[in-house]
């Protein structure tokens, strides 16, 4: 089975970002605008939380310290 043979159902963005922000070949050196992984994950997740937070069911993410 090839990746292209995947069913066309929508891939969750969060699963995609796990791979695109923490996986993949990372290049260093002057020719590349490399995005540092940890940094980027935090930026992206903050953006996601900000955008999605309003529509999330309240209480689901409740956590006791």
């Amino acid at each position: 089975m090839s990746p292209a043979a995947l069913p066309a159902r929508e891939i969750a963005l969060v699963d995609l970002l796990d791979r695109l922000l923490a996986g993949g070949i990372v290049l260093t050196g002057d020719i590349t605008l490399a995005i540092a992984d940890i940094d980027m994950v935090q930026i992206s997740l903050r953006a996601l939380i900000t955008s999605l937070g309003r529509t999330t069911r309240s209480g689901v993410a409740e956590r006791d310290a």
């Binding site: 089975m1 090839s2 990746p3 292209a4 043979a5 995947l6 891939i11 969750a12 963005l13 969060v14 699963d15 995609l16 970002l17 796990d18 791979r19 695109l20 922000l21 923490a22 996986g23 993949g24 070949i25 990372v26 290049l27 020719i31 590349t32 605008l33 490399a34 995005i35 992984d37 980027m40 994950v41 930026i43 992206s44 997740l45 953006a47 996601l48 939380i49 900000t50 955008s51 999605l52 937070g53 999330t56 209480g59 689901v60 993410a61 409740e62 006791d64």
Partner: protein
């Protein structure tokens, strides 16, 4: 100033007609930069979008991040369907195609070795969740108890209720984590390699429950279904956890060295 080069992946050469019509970031057409028996999959990016500040700003906007991520994946998946492929990290941008060619020359051995290692393999994602039954507020019924002596009693009952609720959650979490370790051992036995991702925040995934385990398993493409089916069966056999399987994916999580370092 000429266009920069958004770089999706490096791959073994393939019939370029199979990439015909493939559209990259910002609707740009995909082309290949070749060096010996390697090609880089590239599309032009407007110079104004290609400096680090501009790129960062775009990636901090959810809609832009999502559009670029989905495009990046669509291109990588299309190429990976026809040839062994090493995906690059999101937003890998070179100043020109010449720089991409230099990269292929400089990293030729490393790319060849990694391509050889990953040829024919895909990754399958497995996430394990714990349900927190009764986690929602409103199940406490102190008010119904007879003989309650005023607010002090209610307060004590409430604190006890909160403590019990927390203990229940911790117990469920520990039980799920331990189940996840056992399932991981079984699945790792079917896989060539495994990588653990950080667990996903409940705010981000519309998933049921709390994510306690998030991993990717590298398998021969022909065995992806087997691993996925095994994962689903393990989940179905355990009433305390829910399992979600994703993929097969191009081997994004395995492009680093053997030790998992994204070098």
């Amino acid at each position: 100033m000429s266009a920069a080069s958004y770089t999706y992946a490096v791959a073994r050469p393939f019939d370029p007609t199979r990439a015909a019509g493939l559209v990259g970031v910002d609707g740009a057409t995909i082309h290949l930069v070749r060096h010996q028996d390697l090609v880089a999959v590239v599309s032009p990016l407007a110079p104004a979008d290609a400096d680090e500040t501009a790129l960062r700003a775009r990636l901090e906007t959810l809609a832009e991040l999502e559009a670029i991520a989905r495009t990046h994946h669509r291109v990588v998946a299309a190429v990976a369907a026809c040839t062994p492929t090493l995906p690059f990290r999101l937003a890998t941008v070179h100043r020109s195609d010449d720089r991409v060619a230099q990269l292929l020359r400089r990293e030729y051995r490393r790319f060849r070795e990694t391509l050889d290692r990953l040829a024919g393999s895909v990754e399958v994602g497995v996430k394990i969740y714990v349900q927190h039954a009764g986690a929602s507020a409103g199940t406490m019924s102190v008010a119904e108890k007879p003989g309650g002596s005023g607010s002090a009693r209610v307060g004590r009952d409430y604190l006890r209720y909160r403590r019990e609720q927390r203990d229940r959650r911790q117990h469920a979490w520990r039980r799920a984590t331990s189940a996840a370790e056992q399932m991981d051992a079984v699945l790792a036995g079917l896989a060539i390699d495994r990588r653990q991702h950080r667990t996903q925040s409940a705010e981000l995934s519309a998933a049921p429950g709390e994510n306690v385990f998030n991993a990717a398993y590298l398998v021969d493409a022909g065995r992806a279904d087997e691993l996925a089916a095994r994962a689903r069966r393990l989940g179905a056999e355990n009433p305390h956890v829910t399992i979600e399987v994703t993929g097969p994916w191009p081997p994004y999580s395995f492009t680093g060295s053997e030790h998992g370092e994204p070098t």
